[in-house]
Subunit: 321 residues, 2 copies
Amino acid sequence: MALELVVMGAASATPTSNQYTTSQLLKMREHYFLIDCGEGTQKQLRRSKIKFSRINHIFISHLHGDHFFGLVGLLSSFHLLGRTTPLTVYGPPKLKDLILAQFRASGTFTSYPIHFAVTQHKVPQVLLETDDYTISSFPLKHRIATTGFLFEEKEQQRKLNKPVADAYGVPVCDYHWIKDGKDWTSEEGQLVPNKELTFDPPAPLRYAFASDTMYTHDTATYIQGVDLLYHESTFCEDKAKRAQETMHSTAKEAAIVAKEAGATHLLLGHFSARYRDFGQFKEEALEWFDSVWLAKELHSYRLSSKGLKVESLTTSPSDEK
Amino acid sequence: MALELVVMGAASATPTSNQYTTSQLLKMREHYFLIDCGEGTQKQLRRSKIKFSRINHIFISHLHGDHFFGLVGLLSSFHLLGRTTPLTVYGPPKLKDLILAQFRASGTFTSYPIHFAVTQHKVPQVLLETDDYTISSFPLKHRIATTGFLFEEKEQQRKLNKPVADAYGVPVCDYHWIKDGKDWTSEEGQLVPNKELTFDPPAPLRYAFASDTMYTHDTATYIQGVDLLYHESTFCEDKAKRAQETMHSTAKEAAIVAKEAGATHLLLGHFSARYRDFGQFKEEALEWFDSVWLAKELHSYRLSSKGLKVESLTTSPSDEK
């Protein structure tokens, strides 16, 4: 099993001719989650060949345009394409009104139900829990109400070692208990320990997205031991003052959060257009944390027990058209 | 002098991976006007190398998303880039609230003043008049309040034939009257007719944009004798029923409006994604009107006394990146 993050956009503030603002698609145990939705996200989803119909949950970190101006267009396209499956949008309190006002102005009643779930930025909050995963929001410190999101796979059942089970003559009806971790006793009273009958399931993976935020130690406390942390880092330390003023983080600060959280990998994004070479972000972060990656548009970051694998989704740098 | 229209997007309803929704930039006598603003328009403006600072007037035909979802992002970018020049946005009554609500939610007070001028869709209306041009809106028939826009250059002063003026010994202080069309009398009492002293100025040009609308003969009455008419034609006659239901026009209907208006050239756009070959639109319209062109993204349509010249702004089909 693997967890895959596809980056739709990683630019900050304003899109440029070839850069999109924040949005990511997370694939976790066959479920698709869209995180933030800058202008043009629907275009990037198409380019990534991601089926719109697979997206049932959208998470918006805060209401700065570079994180949500693409949402109304995407919801509108869902409608125009005839979607009927319900959709849940998680975001700050005002999001619902902003979206619905636009639909009202155009006389649109969407073909599918939209449930707006309100996040709040003062305390961490579980947003969604199933047998497969738990998704929570956690507070960040930005100029307006902003939350990060934590996506956690749940522990899976143990995997049956079938040849061994067969050798002991374990009946199929007992598989269920064994997968749940129970030892097995034969009719003759022989106790077979569970670890002889099963393999460990893959360790559950955890992904955290810390959107626009200034450095705060609290961030690390919410996401302890996360496998992959996407932490925005709009500036490097050479613009630390600007970072402070605008309540953004530097690459160094993002790396410190990753370190304090005991994260495995750190992905940096939301780069200011003031920088031409994003390599500077990586270099700076590497001084404080070992595994640093740069978020690139239309790139997939696939996390498994073997580590993080990065792949471009575009066949050539110029296959836009 | 020439009038130039640069098409940013000509797709209808939903943007696809390589098509943008409605937006055009009109260059008229050195003035830049943005007409409609589908999602991603700011990206297309950048690709067209059009300076944001040249745009002081934006015209929104109606509040369907494919005509204005890119506006808030563009206005936001103007702010983030430090614009201070006032901007006027012309559009339906609710537009102001929709935009300002989004700014309020993000705590944004724009660095420049925005004046929202309300269009109304029941009668034609002069929106803006200067010595150089007149811009009006005119009613269209769509599912929600929709207007078209008419851009008219004003007659210019006559051009002085300087060698002839010098031969007669016309003093510089009389040039002004002569350019205004007055005859000239020498101190000896000799009357020199104006047409001997001047050339005709280039004929003033007129551009009309008829956004989403069903066919109505009224459209032609508002734009009589227009040089270039961009009339949306979402469907061809094979989908006339669908056109009727959604209150859009077919290519044939657009051509009939062009004919009834006595237009010189017709540009078709806002094509439905149901068509793979837009050549069908051109063929259909050519049966009813002589000079038919298809709106293509990042193409310039330059109108002068010599006719209409079409040019791609991109150096190669794949220079997106």
